[in-house]
Subunit: 181 residues, 2 copies
DNA sequence: AAGTTTGTACAGTTTTTTCTGTACGAACTG
DNA sequence: CAGTTCGTACAGAAAAAACTGTACAAACTT
């Protein structure tokens, strides 16, 4: 095997495991692979280069890169004189990590807190209902208790997101020195 | 609408948003719904009860509940005199959260750190190769630099997992009081 | 303004995942 | 030990997701 083939193979191997990881986080295998390729590609890439390296269609590259952008794992990079859109993988893995989970958790909070409030309101008004049997009343009260605990959880999660977004998390769990293990 | 229908509806609504959240974390919608149902069901449930409440097959309940168990979102509960397996949703959402992400991240670390070491070894031995053009050598060195940064990231992530598993995270980001927002 | 190039919407196909019914082994019951 | 109940493996059907090619709009070039 030639030395350039060996390099190619080493990369491909690592890219495959990167892709597998990203699959755990809900990305499709191909998108994971695309990210891996971009991660090793030192220059910002065009859709056509991606197409060549992944062997997939340009349409897929377009939608894929957009998905990765939305997750901030990849971003557009402008270069003067170049008409095509250029994209590069986010170099800073700490930033990727923090951004990714902040986004995920924020979405969770937003989605659920809204519904929680609505459900709480419904249940509270239901307590006024004279038709309610004592048994049902207990049920409703139990549910309200559960929702209260849930609210506490979302409040906490919100604080956690703050710690991630502000970078305070790195005060609590510091980034290790170069040498450390 | 009768009061019990109203209760049913309020729950269903909240369950739907819970399910949607869990979908973000890679669970199928039905499994999310199953979890939601179990979350509101105060008594531990049998597969047959689940089947009735979800309207799905018992086979699905069996596989679903096992998936949820593996993620520690649900656990078996033994009750004397009851022959059927009983399952209940984990009540403590903080625990669920912490367990879920610890597991996820641990899997990521395990998977990638192994491959990282292997790739690093391959690239280092490639540096010895006399066939290597100067350009390729630069490439390899650049890649090794990337892997070094990646290693640092995994080390950090491991520390974060420790903070989650030990509960230290709650020292840094405390669980709010009942009243607080 | 006509001609290119570039990115994406959309419809249809392929692949993957989810779900069900059947079948069967293990654990219990009388 | 024969009969019952329970959970799950497995194969196939149904549903969902990923992927591609065509077509077209926007931006650029001459």
């Amino acid at each position: 095997m030639s030395s350039s083939e060996k390099l190619e193979q080493a990369r491909r191997h690592y890219i495959e495991s990167l892709a597998e990881t990203m699959e755990m986080y809900g990305l499709s295998p191909s998108m994971g692979r695309l990210f891996g390729i971009m991660f090793f590609h030192d220059e910002p890439m065009t859709l056509d280069e991606m197409r060549k390296l992944t062997g997939m269609s340009k349409t897929s590259m377009s939608t894929g890169v957009r998905a990765l952008s939305r997750l901030k794992l990849v971003h557009k990079k402008w270069q003067k004189g170049v008409r095509k859109d250029l994209y590069e993988a986010e170099h800073d893995q700490f930033r990727s990590f923090v951004d990714f989970f902040s986004q995920l958790w924020e979405k969770e909070i937003e989605l659920n807190q809204k519904n929680l409030t609505k459900t709480e309101r419904n249940l509270k008004s239901l307590l006024q209902d004279p038709e309610l049997t004592p048994e049902e009343r207990d049920q409703v009260e139990e549910d309200l208790e559960k929702l209260k605990r849930a609210r506490r959880y979302y409040t906490w999660l919100d604080h956690l997101v703050d710690a991630f977004e502000s970078g305070d998390i790195f005060k609590y769990v510091p980034i290790p020195d170069e040498e450390a293990d």
